[in-house]
């Protein structure tokens, strides 16, 4: 599901994405654990999109949707392009993919790490470049994207807000 946001803070809940071209908007993923929050940002066009991705890929029998990286990443790109983003100016920022618990039944890689890997692979297919990321570890995170200037911040439980991505002063566009 893609919601077009206008004004103030908009949440992308699990499996959802939000996009906005309104400089007054902030897009947020609250309480990311093993999920990935993926932001695609065109600062020149004042367009940003945020997807809350839960799993690497749809199972063979299922229909891919916003939960899955293989569907969510191209769908988010399409949505920000529709709002006027230019493909060559898009910056990608990833947050999440933590391993808070060990399930250890299959001895395989944890779902958080597999999610991060899948999002990277999808970005590479679309020739989009991750500019910043805060992934892995054992703590949950909340991320926020300010549409006005593409600034991305995140916060871990009990921690303080960390700036992950910001606009170089020379590139800031007057409103």
């Amino acid at each position: 599901m893609t919601l077009v946001a206008t004004g103030t803070e908009h949440l992308a809940r699990m499996g959802e994405q939000v996009v906005s071209a309104d400089a007054g908007d902030v897009l947020a993923c609250v309480g990311l654990g093993s999920c990935i929050g993926l932001a695609l940002i065109d600062r020149r066009a004042t367009v940003a999109g945020l997807a809350h991705i839960m799993l690497p890929a749809a199972p063979a029998s299922g229909t891919p949707n916003g939960k899955h990286a293989d569907h969510a990443v191209p769908a988010l790109l399409e949505a920000v392009l529709e709002l006027g983003a230019a493909r060559h100016r898009i910056d990608a920022v990833l947050v999440g993919g933590a391993s808070m618990f060990s399930f250890g039944t299959d001895g395989g890689q944890q779902v958080g790490a597999r999610n991060a890997e899948a999002v990277h692979a999808e970005l590479a297919k679309l020739r989009l470049h991750p500019r910043a990321e805060a992934t892995g570890g054992t703590r949950g995170r909340t991320m926020r994207v300010r549409v006005a200037d593409g600034r991305v911040v995140y916060k871990e439980a009990g921690g303080t807000e960390v700036e992950l991505f910001s606009t170089p002063v020379g590139l800031r566009v007057a409103a």
């Binding site: 809940r13 699990m14 499996g15 959802e16 609250v30 309480g31 990311l32 654990g33 093993s34 999920c35 839960m54 799993l55 690497p56 749809a58 199972p59 299922g62 939960k67 933590a98 391993s99 808070m100 618990f101 060990s102 399930f103 039944t105 299959d106 779902v111 958080g112 597999r114 054992t138 703590r139 949950g140 995170r141 909340t142 439980a157 009990g158």
Partner: protein, 194 residues
């Protein structure tokens, strides 16, 4: 999308009622104080709503995960607000943020999870056993999403059996959730003849 009939949800609610009743009795004997349970809720919810059942996604909780293995894969999750964890641990003079405090919470998870699961096993004839509990202090949304997605299963809806436990005279309460994997719920219902 998986849905359950009212009759099936009633049966699951009754299982949760008996299970959490047993868990409350165990908590009473651990703490030496009477413990009450609320009437449990049983609901099959889209994942985003399943997280919302327990509170706002950015509220911090002590999360105690007790993985259940055997004939059904499931997770028991206890969510304890910090002040309630302080109360719980203070019975033994411990701080929930210390190693000993975390061990205490782990033990609470062990005792409650085990008594709950034993009831389920007895009633359904399933072989079920708890794996060692894991304790975190983190955001509610991150805890529940990580548990629900932990095995990488592609869930549409989560079955949430939620009870509140309250320790009398201590203003201490916690949420108690049973989150079975989707195949496990069908097995559970089949065992009950539903």
């Amino acid at each position: 999308m998986t849905t359950y009939s009212d009759l099936q949800l009633d049966a699951l609610r009754e299982l949760a009622n008996i299970g959490s009743g047993q868990a409350a009795a165990s908590l009473s004997s651990l703490l030496g104080k009477p413990t009450d349970i609320s009437v449990p809720t049983a609901a099959a919810l889209p994942l985003a709503d399943a997280v919302a059942v327990a509170g706002q996604p950015d509220e911090e909780r002590h999360g105690i995960l007790v993985p259940i293995i055997g004939d059904m894969q499931a997770a028991v999750v206890l969510l304890v607000p910090d002040e309630d964890a302080q109360t719980l641990c203070s019975v033994y003079g411990l701080d929930p943020h210390s190693d000993d405090g975390r061990s205490m919470l782990q033990e609470v998870g062990n005792i409650l999870g085990t008594s709950y699961i034993n009831v389920l096993a007895q009633m359904t004839g399933m072989a079920l056993e708890p794996a060692p509990p894991q304790v975190v202090h983190d955001m509610l949304g991150a805890i529940l999403a990580s548990v629900l997605m932990g095995r990488g299963e592609d869930l549409e809806v989560a079955l949430v059996l939620d009870s509140d436990l309250t320790v009398e005279g201590e203003e201490c309460s916690m949420s108690f959730l049973l989150l079975p994997e989707s195949g496990g719920v069908e097995d559970l219902l089949a065992r009950l003849g539903l």
